[in-house]
C-alpha cells in the first residue's frame, strides 16, 4: 500500500485515494476544431513510461482534491506531489534531488 503525500493533507495511505491517470493531458480548448486523430490522442493515447510518470490522484476520502504526483513506475517511489494546475516539474531536477 503506497504512502502518498497529499499536497493538502500530508502522508496518507493509498486506500484514501483514487488514481486518475496520466497528468498534464489538457482537454483541447475547443474540441470541435480537433481532428479525429487529435481527439483520439487526447482521449486514449498515453505515454505509459517505465520510469518517472506524472499522474493524477484524487484524495477522495480526504480533502477530495485532485493533485499531481511524480512516481517512478519501476520502484513505485514518489518523488513529488503538487496541486493540480501547477506546471510540470523538471524531472531531471527531481531525479538529482532524489539522488542526494
Amino acid at each position: 500500500m503506497l504512502l502518498i503525500p497529499c499536497p493538502h493533507c500530508g502522508n496518507r495511505p493509498e486506500l484514501e485515494f483514487r488514481y486518475a491517470g496520466e497528468a498534464h493531458i489538457a482537454r483541447p480548448a475547443d474540441p470541435s476544431t480537433t481532428s479525429d486523430q487529435e481527439w483520439a490522442e487526447y482521449l486514449y493515447f498515453r505515454s505509459n513510461p517505465k520510469g518517472l510518470h506524472i499522474e493524477r490522484w484524487r484524495h477522495v476520502s480526504g480533502c477530495a482534491r485532485f493533485f499531481n504526483c511524480v512516481r517512478d513506475t519501476v520502484s513505485d517511489k514518489i518523488l513529488k506531489t503538487y496541486p493540480a494546475g501547477q506546471p510540470k516539474p523538471d524531472l531531471a531536477e527531481l531525479v538529482k534531488e532524489a539522488g542526494q
Partner: protein, 997 residues
C-alpha cells in the same frame, strides 16, 4: 510411556507438565514447551510424512518453519487444518495430529509404488506423454495425477474461527529475536524509539535458546535472553512484543505484513480471541534479523527418516531435551555440526563418526570434537544410507576412492553450511550480491529504509551477530529521528566460532543417473532431475525451477535453492550468479486466508446501505435486491403471491390508483454557485441556462467518448443552485467525474459540489391519485396542475418537515417525489402510507418501477445502455443542447463510427404470440433459424409482462431499428425462434396526457 529418549537436561520443556496427544490415532505423551516434532522424536517417532511425488517415507529434518517433510494435519471437523509443519506446531493437551499424503497408512503407503516407477517419473515427464488421444488428458490422466498430488485435505465445513487485523506504526520494526534481533530491539528501545519486535517462534531468543555453554556478560545465554525480554517488556509504552508472529511480506515504502498466530497453540482458546491477527505495519526503519537456514547435504538416499540437519538435532537435544537417536553419524562441511555432535554426545547420543567433506577441519570446534574422543574423518563424503522407515546405516567414502563403508546408526546429522535468510531484504527490492569466498548471497544496496543484522547478513559468529544487532538498532533509531543511543557491547564466553560450507551434490561412487540424491525433499527433486533440466535447455534458474519444481514446495526452497543453483551452475559450467536467482516472493511462510480476509466476511464483507424505510419494508414482507451497496425493496408480495403476481398487482394498482416507492437510493448532488448553470452546460448534454427556477429537466450525462454514462432529473432550486439526481449505482462515479472537470479543466468556474444522497429520503408517490394522497400533508405549496406543472420543483413543508417537492414521473402517471431530511424519512413515509391506503394504493418495489418505466419507453442506464450507446441510439437527441458549443462527449459524437447508419437503436418489440415474454439478453436476428455464426441485429434489453397492456412487451436495441418499424424479426431460442414485431418503444400513453393531469 517411556522417557528413554529424553535427555538428562530438560531444556526449556517443563517436565512437570505432561501433555497427551495423538498422532495417526495413537496416543503419545509430551510436555509443555514441546513442539509436535520434539514430542514425537521423544517417543521415537521419526516417520512423520510422505513425499509429494514418490511417496517416500520421511522424517522431520529441521526444527523450524523451513521444514519440508514433517507436514501434518491438526484438528478435526471444521477446524481441521492441513499442511502444518510439525516443528512449528506447539503441543497442547489433547492435540490431534494426522499424517498426510499416505494411504492406507503412513508406514504402508500404496502410493510408494511411484518410487519404483521413478525412472519414468523424472523432471518434466508429464510434458512428454499423456497426449494421446486429446480427450484422455482431461478424462483419464489428469484425474489420476490430481488424486496423487496435493498434500493434506481441506475441511468441507466453513471455518468457525474469526480473524482480525491491526494497522500499526513504529519507529523501528525488528524482525527476528535471535542475538542480532534482540540486541537491535534493545539498543533501539533504549533511545525511546517506538519498537515492534516480532519473531515467528513462541519464545524470543532464536538460536540463543539452543545454546548450552555460551554465556553473555557472564550469564548463561538463556538468562541473558530472559533479562533482555524483561527489559523490553518494561518499556510497554513504546515497545510491542509479538511472539508467534511472522513478518511475511515487505512492500513498498516500508510497509510490512505480519501474521500473529494467536490461539493455535491453546487447548481451549477463549472464543473471543481471533485465531490469527494480521498486522499491517508502516515502519520508519526496519532491522531484519532473520537468521540463516542450515543446508542439507545432497547425497544418495539422503531422505530416510532419522536423517536430519545437525543444528536441528542440537536444538531438539538442548532446547527440548530430546535425544533424536541413539547412535549418530555426522556428515558435514561446516564446523557448526561439530558443536551439534558435542552437544548430542553430552545428551547421551553416541557419535559414531564425523565425516567432513573438507580436506581439513582444524577450527576450534573440530579440535574440540577430536579432544572429546569423537572419530573425525576429513576428506570423507557421505555417499548413501540404508534403512526403510528409519535409517539404519550411513555409507561413507574417502574422497577419490570407490570404497564405501557402512556405519550402523539410527541417526544421520548433516550440515552443508548456512544460507542467510535474505527473503525480506529481497522483497524490499534490495539488491543481493554473491559473496564468492563464502558462496552465499548476502544483502547489497538497500532500496528501502532497512538494514540486516546477524546471520541473515552473512555474519558467521555469535559475537558478530550481537555487534550487528546493537549497531543496527542504534542506526535505525537515529534514522527514525529518535535520540542518539549509546553503543553497547557484550562479553561472550563458551562459544567457538564455526566456518565452512559446501554447495551442490556430494560426490559419490554410484551411477549418478540411478541414485536419488534429493535437493528439494517435499517435491522429490533430485540432483539428476536438475541435470536433466539443464541438459534439455533449461539454462535459466527460473526454467530449472519450473521444469523440475525445485523450490516450489511449501518451504519455497528455503533448504534447497542454493544446492539446486549450484548443481545447475556446475552442469552449465557457469558461475552461480550467472545462472541467476529465483525471485523471493511473499509470504515468507504460508499464512492463512482467514488472516488475510480478517473481519471482512458476512455482513462486514461490504458495507450495507439501507434506506430509512428499510425496516418498514421488511415488516411488510418485501423482498430486497442488491444494487451497488444498497438493499432495495424489489417487490412486496402479498400472502400467496409469487414475484410475477406481486409485480402485476403493483403495476396495476399504480396505474389504477397510486403507488408509493422509496427512491432514496438515487444519487443526489447539489451543484451550487454563480457558475452552476454554466457548469451543468458542460457536464450534461442538455441546455440549462434557460431552465427556470422551480422547473426540472431530464439530464443526460455522457463520458468524453460520447457514450451515455448516467441520467437523472435535475431541478433548479435557485438561480445558482441545482438539485441533481443520478442513478443509484452511478452516484460516486458521477460526483468524481464532475469534480474532475471542475477541479482540473474548469477551475475558473465558481461552483461547489456536495453529495446529498444520504441527506434526503425520497418518497415517490405515483399514480392518478398521487396528488390526493399528498395534498392533506403538504404545507405552503400549491400542488395543483396549474400551479405546479409536470417537471417542477417547490420548497415547502410536509407534515411540518421541510421538503423539496418534485413533480416528476418515472411511471408515466401523475407523480411526486417528496424529498425530506433523512431523519424524517420513515415518519413521512408512514404518513404518506396512511393517506395512500385510503385510495387502496400500494407500496411498490424496483421491479414494478422497471416495468412501468419500460411501458413508457424510459431507459435505464446500464440496462438499455452498456457503455457503447449514444444519445441518438436511444432516440434522445431531443435532450442535446444543439446550440451549445461544447459539452463533455460532444466531440466524440461526430466520430465516424458514432454516426453510422447501421448503429443499434432503441425500439420496442412485441411478440407475435402476446403471452410470450422474451428473455432479457436474448439476441435478435433477421431469420428464425440462423446458422451458427450469424451476426445478431441486436438484443432484448428489457422484457416484461404488462398488466395495463394485457400482454408482454420488450425494449431492444436493434441495428437501424428506427427504420424497421413494423418489421418482423426473430429471437432464436434453444427451443425455437420467437417472432417479434418492431414497434415504437413507447407502449403506454404515447402523447403523455397522463403526466399532465
Amino acid at each position: 510411556m517411556s522417557l528413554t529418549l529424553r535427555a538428562k537436561r530438560s531444556g526449556r520443556v517443563d517436565r512437570t507438565k505432561p501433555l497427551s496427544f495423538t498422532f495417526d490415532g495413537k496416543t503419545y505423551r509430551g510436555f509443555e514447551g514441546d513442539t509436535l516434532a520434539s514430542a514425537l522424536l521423544a517417543n521415537g517417532v521419526h516417520l512423520m510424512g510422505r513425499s509429494f511425488k514418490y511417496h517416500r517415507p520421511r522424517g522431520v529434518i529441521t526444527a523450524g518453519s523451513d521444514e519440508p517433510n514433517a507436514l501434518v494435519s491438526v484438528g478435526s471437523g471444521a477446524r481441521h487444518t492441513p499442511n502444518l509443519r510439525a516443528p512449528q506446531v506447539e503441543l497442547y493437551d489433547g492435540l490431534v495430529a494426522k499424517s498426510q499424503n499416505a494411504w492406507p497408512s503412513l508406514s504402508f503407503d500404496v502410493g510408494a509404488i511411484n518410487n519404483f516407477l521413478s525412472p519414468l517419473f523424472v523432471a518434466g515427464f508429464y510434458y512428454k506423454t499423456f497426449m494421446w488421444p486429446n480427450v484422455a488428458w482431461k478424462k483419464l490422466y489428469e484425474p489420476i495425477i490430481r488424486r496423487a498430488a496435493g498434500l493434506g485435505t481441506a475441511s468441507s465445513e466453513p471455518d468457525p474461527d474469526h480473524y482480525s487485523t491491526r494497522f500499526a506504526h513504529c519507529d523501528v520494526l525488528v524482525v527476528g529475536s535471535g542475538p542480532a534481533g534482540l540486541s537491535a530491539a534493545l539498543s533501539a528501545a533504549r533511545t525511546g524509539a517506538r519498537v515492534i519486535l516480532c519473531d515467528e517462534q513462541a519464545e524470543f531468543g532464536g538460536s540463543l535458546l539452543s545454546e548450552l555453554h555460551a554465556t553473555v556478560d557472564g550469564k548463561p545465554a538463556a538468562q541473558w535472553v530472559e533479562e533482555a525480554v524483561a527489559e523490553l517488556k518494561a518499556l510497554a509504552g513504546t515497545v510491542t512484543l509479538l511472539p508467534r508472529t511472522q513478518a511475511f511480506g515487505y512492500f513498498a515504502q516500508n510497509f510490512l505484513g505480519l501474521v500473529e498466530r494467536v490461539t493455535d497453540h491453546l487447548a481451549t482458546p477463549d472464543p473471543k480471541l481471533p485465531r490469527d491477527r494480521l498486522w499491517q505495519v508502516r515502519a520508519k526503519e526496519v532491522v531484519i534479523a532473520a537468521g540463516a537456514h542450515e543446508r542439507p547435504m545432497v547425497f544418495p538416499d539422503n531422505d530416510r527418516p532419522g536423517i536430519m540437519l545437525a543444528d536441528a538435532a542440537r536444538t531438539y537435544a538442548n532446547r527440548y531435551g530430546v535425544r533424536p537417536g541413539g547412535r549418530a553419524v555426522v556428515a558435514t562441511a561446516h564446523d557448526s555440526a561439530y558443536q551439534a555432535a558435542l552437544d548430542l554426545k553430552a545428551a547421551g547420543v553416541s557419535i559414531e563418526l564425523i565425516a567432513d567433506l573438507r580436506k581439513e577441519a582444524n577450527g576450534p570446534l573440530p579440535m574440540a570434537a577430536r579432544a572429546a574422543g569423537i572419530r573425525v574423518e576429513t576428506g570423507m563424503a557421505i555417499t548413501g544410507s540404508t534403512g526403510r522407515l528409519r535409517v539404519n546405516a550411513a555409507l561413507v567414502s574417502k574422497l577419490g576412492t570407490d570404497g564405501e563403508e557402512a556405519i550402523p546408526c539410527d541417526l544421520i546429522l548433516m550440515c552443508g553450511g548456512w544460507t542467510p535468510s535474505v527473503h525480506l531484504f529481497s522483497q524490499s527490492r534490495g539488491k543481493l550480491v554473491f559473496d564468492d569466498a563464502r558462496q552465499v548471497f548476502i544483502p547489497g544496496e538497500s532500496a528501502q529504509a532497512e538494514r540486516s543484522a546477524g546471520a541473515c547478513k552473512g555474519s558467521e559468529t555469535l559475537a558478530q551477530a550481537f555487534e550487528d544487532g546493537f549497531a543496527a538498532g542504534l542506526d535505525a533509531a537515529a534514522k527514525a529521528g529518535c535520540a542518539q543511543g549509546k553503543a553497547t557491547q557484550v562479553k561472550l564466553a563458551g562459544v567457538l566460532d564455526a566456518h565452512g560450507g559446501f554447495l551442490g551434490a556430494v560426490p559419490h561412487p554410484h551411477d549418478a543417473g540411478r541414485v536419488k540424491a534429493f535437493v528439494d525433499y517435499q517435491n522429490d527433486v533430485t540432483a539428476k532431475d536438475i541435470k536433466l533440466a539443464t541438459r534439455e535447455g533449461m539454462r535459466s534458474i527460473e526454467h530449472v525451477k519450473r521444469y523440475t519444481t525445485t523450490g516450489m514446495a511449501t518451504d519455497q526452497g528455503k533448504l534447497s535453492n542454493m544446492n539446486a543453483l549450484a548443481i545447475a551452475a556446475e552442469a552449465l559450467g557457469k558461475p552461480i550468479p550467472a545462472v541467476g536467482l529465483t525471485t523471493f516472493r511473499q509470504p515468507y511462510t504460508p499464512i492463512s486466508f482467514g488472516a488475510m480476509a480478517n473481519h471482512s466476511r458476512g455482513d462486514l464483507f461490504d458495507p450495507v446501505r439501507k434506506t430509512a424505510t428499510h425496516a418498514w419494508a421488511e415488516a411488510q414482507g418485501a423482498v430486497f435486491e442488491d444494487v451497488g451497496l444498497w438493499k432495495r425493496a424489489w417487490y412486496f408480495p402479498h400472502a400467496g403471491e409469487d414475484m410475477h403476481a406481486a409485480v402485476l398487482r403493483e403495476c396495476k394498482t399504480v396505474r389504477d390508483s397510486a403507488g408509493v416507492f422509496d427512491a432514496s437510493t438515487l444519487g443526489k448532488i447539489e451543484v451550487v454557485g454563480p457558475d452552476a448553470a454554466e457548469f451543468m452546460n458542460i457536464l450534461y448534454t442538455n441546455p440549462w441556462s434557460k431552465l427556470e427556477v422551480g422547473r426540472c429537466r431530464y439530464g443526460l450525462m455522457l463520458n468524453e467518448a460520447g457514450f451515455v454514462m448516467d441520467d437523472g432529473v435535475v431541478g433548479r432550486i435557485a438561480e445558482d443552485r441545482f438539485h441533481v439526481t443520478t442513478t443509484t449505482g452511478g452516484a460516486p462515479r458521477v460526483l468524481n467525474h464532475m469534480e474532475d472537470y471542475l477541479q482540473t479543466e474548469f477551475p475558473n468556474l465558481k461552483v461547489a459540489l456536495t453529495s446529498t444522497t444520504e441527506q434526503y429520503s425520497v418518497v415517490a408517490v405515483q399514480g392518478p391519485n398521487a396528488r390526493k394522497i399528498i395534498a392533506p400533508l403538504i404545507d405552503g405549496i400549491d400542488i395543483s396542475n396549474e400551479a405546479m406543472p409536470h417537471m417542477s420543483v417547490r420548497l415547502g413543508k410536509i407534515c411540518g418537515v421541510p421538503t423539496r417537492l418534485f413533480r416528476m414521473s418515472f411511471t408515466g402517471e401523475l407523480g411526486f417525489e417528496v424529498n425530506v431530511p433523512a431523519d424524517y424519512g420513515q415518519a413521512i413515509w408512514e404518513a404518506i402510507w396512511a393517506e395512500a391506503q385510503k385510495y387502496e394504493a400500494c407500496a411498490y418495489g424496483t421491479e414494478t418501477m422497471h416495468v412501468l418505466r419500460a411501458e413508457k419507453g424510459y431507459i435505464i442506464v446500464g440496462q438499455e445502455t452498456d457503455g457503447t450507446v449514444t444519445p441518438n441510439d436511444l432516440g434522445l437527441d431531443w435532450a442535446i443542447g444543439k446550440a451549445k458549443p461544447d459539452f463533455v462527449g460532444k466531440r466524440s459524437l461526430t466520430r465516424p463510427d458514432l454516426v453510422k447508419a447501421d448503429r443499434k437503436q432503441l425500439v420496442g418489440l412485441l411478440t407475435v404470440e402476446p403471452q410470450t415474454v422474451l428473455e432479457e439478453g436474448a439476441q435478435i436476428t433477421l431469420i428464425g433459424n440462423p446458422p451458427a455464426g450469424t451476426s445478431a441485429l441486436g438484443h432484448v434489453t428489457s422484457s416484461y409482462q404488462s398488466a395495463v397492456l394485457g400482454r408482454s412487451f420488450a425494449l431492444a436495441i436493434v441495428s437501424a431499428g428506427r427504420a424497421r418499424m413494423g418489421e418482423t424479426l426473430y429471437v432464436p431460442m434453444p427451443d425455437g425462434p420467437i417472432a417479434v414485431t418492431v414497434t415504437d418503444p413507447v407502449f403506454y400513453d404515447k402523447e403523455g396526457a397522463k403526466l399532465h393531469v
